[in-house]
């Protein structure tokens, strides 16, 4: 691996029937990321189950219950590396009842892969997956038109599915969409270019993943530094040291920058940006550093250091697209803890504006219940201001979760409109 190799996170949603597990198995197998003892174990299981040959789908098996039922329930993470990049796959289920797990996997992804069975074209599930990718603002989408072997590798079928997909995606906020015709089962256009589809001029899936431009996926404009904790070493050489430890959420900070601490509004200048290895001239997302300031200001966890000429909005009233994640439905006017970066406050859901019908993607203003997997636009009031950006501009300072104080469970995730 070279020193400048990047990390790319992508998500796959789908069920065994779509060929999702076969696709992942194929990527790992053809990129030689599968070990011999894993292969032997799977050959053994394939034989026991009476399958012909090696069932690549078995590579993605997880927990005992999932193996028994042959389904993905929870997000599983898988890893592979090529000479060009390191990849993390968030492998998620595709069924409607696991929408929350898809959203979890999608929240950190650079790329969403959406699987379409070439025989069936765009179906409700495709719409749902595209909608989630656009809702979570995943920067890139790869539409894998799979099982091309079952439609005679037909270019017409491929073009027709592209038209169907563009019909639905034109109504969504998606920017970079690519289409790849493939047969995961036979390995066409996954790692190796297909000989069966000479009409396809594009690259196979792996090459696409290895070369797509992802450096711009992180916001480099709005400098935001949520403080996680304060470092006070109290030891020789550092008696007066007061460092604000955190991970740059977005943008770039430089030594000498004029900064404002929110919510207090105090201003100062960056005195140093420290790491164990060396003092830095600048820090950018997603680096973890410790920042010291010229002036002694009261700063603690939950505060945010920003550049004085570019501040987030401080607000107690926020509108979010909320996905309900828990079995217990939302209680009317109940209070929750709200977590936003390192900040925690109390919050109340004041109003449900509308709810999406996740199959038709139509808005429903009459059904106001928030049940598991529901996606709704809501108005939230917090006890103290949060320093927010819109999720479209900033995935880190634009996202929140709600925690139920009675159970300590994470019950909802929201994207600030």
């Amino acid at each position: 691996m070279l020193d400048n190799n990047q990390l790319l996170r992508f998500t796959t949603a789908g069920s065994v029937d779509d060929g999702k597990s076969t696709l992942i198995g194929r990527l790992l197998y053809d990129s030689k990321s599968i070990f011999e003892d894993q292969l032997a174990a799977i050959e053994n299981t394939s034989k026991k189950k009476g399958h012909d040959g090696v069932d690549l789908a078995l590579f993605t098996d997880g927990l005992k219950d999932e193996r028994e039922q042959g389904i993905t329930i929870d997000v599983a993470y898988r890893y592979f590396t090529t000479p060009k990049r390191k990849f993390i796959i968030a492998d998620t289920p595709g069924h409607i009842q696991y929408t929350r797990n898809m959203i979890t996997g999608a929240s950190t992804a650079n790329v969403a892969t959406i699987l379409i069975d070439a025989r069936h074209g765009v179906i409700e599930q495709t719409k749902r997956h595209a909608f989630i990718a656009s809702l979570l603002q995943i920067p890139h989408i790869i539409v894998c038109i799979n099982k091309m072997d079952l439609v005679d590798y037909s270019e017409d079928v491929y073009n027709d599915i592209i038209r169907q997909f563009e019909d639905i995606s034109s109504k969504m906020l998606v920017t970079d969409v690519r289409f790849i015709p493939m047969s995961a089962l036979n390995g066409d256009n996954v790692v190796n270019k297909s000989e069966n589809m000479p009409w396809y001029q594009g690259a196979p899936m792996l090459h696409t993943l290895e070369t797509m431009h992802i450096s711009s996926d992180i916001n480099k404009v709005d400098a935001r530094f949520p403080v996680q904790t304060v470092l006070r070493p109290q030891r020789e050489g550092f008696i007066d040291y007061r460092g604000y430890a955190g991970r740059v959420a977005s943008g770039i900070f430089r030594k000498g920058d004029e900064v404002t601490v929110m919510p207090s509004g105090f201003t100062s200048k960056i005195k140093s940006i420290d790491t164990l290895d060396k003092e830095l001239e600048e820090a950018y997302a997603p680096m973890s550093v410790s920042i010291t300031l010229e002036d002694d200001i009261d700063i603690s966890r939950g505060d945010m250091i920003v550049r004085s000429n570019n501040k987030p909005e401080a607000s107690q009233d926020i509108e979010v697209m909320l996905c309900w994640l828990h079995n217990d439905s939302a209680k009317p006017r109940a209070k929750y803890s709200i977590r936003h970066t390192s900040n925690e406050q109390k919050a109340m859901i004041k109003e449900v504006v509308y709810k999406y019908d996740i199959n038709t993607l139509e808005r429903n203003s009459n059904d106001k219940d928030l049940k598991m997997n529901d996606i709704s636009k809501v108005k939230i009031r917090t006890t103290k201001p949060l320093m927010i950006d819109s999720y479209r501009e900033n995935r880190i300072t634009g996202s929140i979760i709600l925690v139920d104080d009675a159970t300590n469970e994470t019950v909802a995730a929201g994207m600030i409109v």
Partner: protein, 301 residues
């Protein structure tokens, strides 16, 4: 290409530092679980970075099975001294002497499963609310399902089907008294990432990872080190081989590979060409298809 991006190792490092700082901010009494293996050494190295110029604010906790490689214990004591850290030892031998657990019987008996009781006892006695571990998702299929912050109920049990969703980088460590969390800052690292990083940062690791001459016995397709705990079968013969260990567990269950890799460069090159998984020589994982999941549910590392 713009210069404002991190390479994959820097990004993994930054993510781990972020998680370690979240642990410190969200829990009252966290510890680092330290086995003396490379993954826990890596976690200690990352913790040093996370809190510099302050000291690592966590004590280290070692679950001592009594079946150690002597080199591991020596290494543990040195690193604790270097870091000026506090060491808490949970002793499996004491758990046996107290009648909390019973020793396994037979040729392949190990103290692997017994560690669960000792670990949970040590967590309870020391009122630990978060135990930081070096578990990685690429190690094993049950570990692939782990969260960064993983909840354990008041019996120390993991409920993999009912985990808190983790979105973006927001971690929820809220818990009731008696419950605790496990935190896994190097979840997203693979074995290869660990070695590339150890090489880049020149991190000291026990000599057992480097090729060395050792008395071993061939058993179940691997070289098991000779020790006072090993019960030899009639047909088995002790031989001297140049081997190295890819993972370190108890001396009774950790198999070595024949190797000439005696530098970090050679080890990284050797790992890159490996055709078997890292834990393939660990008999504790081979007992059944769900051996790891079953142990983890009960409270294992």
């Amino acid at each position: 290409m713009s210069k404002y991006y991190l390479n994959y190792l820097d990004e993994l490092e930054s993510e781990a530092i972020y998680i370690l700082r979240e642990v410190w901010a969200q829990f009252q009494n966290p510890v680092i679980l330290f086995s003396g293996g490379k993954d826990s050494i890596l976690v200690a190295h990352l913790a040093k970075k996370a809190f510099y110029p302050a000291k690592i604010p966590f004590p280290f906790m070692h679950v001592d099975t009594g079946h150690n490689f002597p080199e591991t214990i020596q290494f543990r004591d040195n690193i604790i001294k270097d870091l000026d850290a506090q060491l808490i030892v949970g002793s499996v031998q004491e758990s046996i002497d107290d009648g909390r657990v019973a020793e396994e019987k037979g040729k392949n008996a190990t103290r692997n499963a017994l560690q669960i009781t000792t670990l949970l006892d040590a967590i309870e006695t020391n009122k630990v609310d978060c135990a930081i571990g070096g578990g990685r998702r690429d190690e094993e299929k049950a570990r692939a399902k782990e969260r960064f912050f993983s909840h354990r109920d008041d019996f120390g049990q993991w409920d993999p089907k009912n985990q808190r969703p983790e979105l973006w980088n927001i971690l929820n460590g809220k818990h009731f008294q008696g419950e605790h969390f496990r935190a896994f800052p190097i979840s997203n690292w693979t074995e290869m990432d660990v070695w590339n990083y150890i090489k880049r940062e020149n991190i000291a690791i026990p000599s057992l990872y480097f090729a060395h001459e050792r008395e071993v016995v061939r058993r179940d397709g691997t070289w098991i080190p000779n020790s006072e705990f090993l019960i030899l079968e009639e047909h088995e013969e002790v031989v001297t081989k140049k081997i190295r260990f890819r993972t370190l567990g108890d001396i009774t269950i950790t198999g070595g590979d024949e190797s000439d890799a005696d530098t970090l460069e050679k080890i990284a090159a050797e790992v890159a060409g490996m055709r078997n998984t890292e834990r393939g020589n660990r008999s504790d994982d081979k007992r059944s298809e769900s051996a790891m999941e079953d142990r983890k549910r009960q409270g294992y590392f």
